[in-house]
């Protein structure tokens, strides 16, 4: 049960993000929901790589007995993936928020029900 706790948390965060995105009308809050979903994705990645009682995957900081197999380090691949996805997330967030700024300047609203000049 305790081992599954991170995954349950992932589910809760993801659902919170989806619900935020669907139920809020302010476009900045929708973007907040998006970041919640992204946090869930990153959390899932890190949780997958975690191993109980293991050390950080840094070669020179490993004690002598832990280098030999079976190695007891957490998976470094998923951490690299998480980092990449955070970088992408930052870029997305910057892009989306600049879009929101431009829209606010021209439309004067952040309500997504009013941002619908393109329809039909």
């Amino acid at each position: 049960m305790l081992a599954n706790f991170p995954f349950i948390a992932v589910g809760i965060i993801a659902i919170a993000g989806i619900v935020t995105m669907l139920l809020r009308v302010n476009i900045i809050r929708i973007i907040m929901g998006l970041t919640l979903l992204e946090a869930a994705g990153n959390f899932l990645l890190v949780a997958i790589g975690y191993r109980h009682n293991s050390i950080a995957p840094i070669f020179t900081s490993a004690p002598e007995e832990k280098i030999r197999p079976p190695a007891e380090m957490v998976l470094p691949t998923v951490q690299a993936m998480t980092l990449t996805s955070i970088v992408i997330g930052v870029a997305t967030l910057a892009l989306l928020l600049s879009f929101v700024m431009a829209i606010y300047r021209d439309y004067g609203t952040l309500d997504c029900r009013s941002i619908r000049k393109l329809q039909g």
Binding site: I58, T60, S61, P63, E64, L83, I86, A94, M101, R105
Partner: protein, 151 residues
């Protein structure tokens, strides 16, 4: 912003930059690296943007310079990656590892504090990414602030 804020920001600014550069350069030894360090540096620049008036600060930290940083960092990354092709190795092959110059010193086994001059091209790539990220993120902040100040 008030004078207190400006003074405090001026005081903190070099320390934030130093810390950012530390993270960039030690990316191959500790947690961190180009992106994180670049982000830390960008927070320092964001602090300066926040503390000073936009008109004043955009004279000191110019968008043109930041854009050059961004382009130079990325080109440096790709060029270093392509250097390996000359020797018939793959793109991004670590051609500097164990070469005994610059960052090419071999890694000592066992538990140690780590040597800065190891890991081949990885620190150089970290520095390239650091330059790129500090340019890119600061540019984003600069543009967003320029959008705000128009109103």
């Amino acid at each position: 912003m008030s004078k207190i804020v400006r003074s405090a920001a001026d005081l903190l600014y070099p320390f934030i930059l130093t810390f950012g550069f530390y993270i960039v350069v030690h990316g191959h030894l500790t947690a961190g690296g180009g992106f994180q360090g670049g982000a830390v540096i960008a927070t320092g620049i964001a602090l300066m943007f926040g503390a000073n008036r936009y008109k004043v600060i955009s004279q000191q930290i110019r968008g043109k310079m930041l854009r050059t940083c961004e382009a130079v960092g990325l080109i440096m990354f790709i060029i270093i990656g392509l250097c390996a092709l000359i020797d018939g190795k793959s793109f991004l092959y670590n051609w500097l590892a164990n070469a005994d110059w610059l960052f090419g010193h071999p890694v000592t086994y066992g538990s140690n504090t780590g040597d800065l001059y190891t890991a081949g091209i990885i620190p150089i790539l970290n520095i390239a990414i650091g330059i790129e990220v500090l340019g890119g993120l600061s540019l984003i902040i600069l543009y967003m602030l320029s959008g705000v100040s128009e109103e």
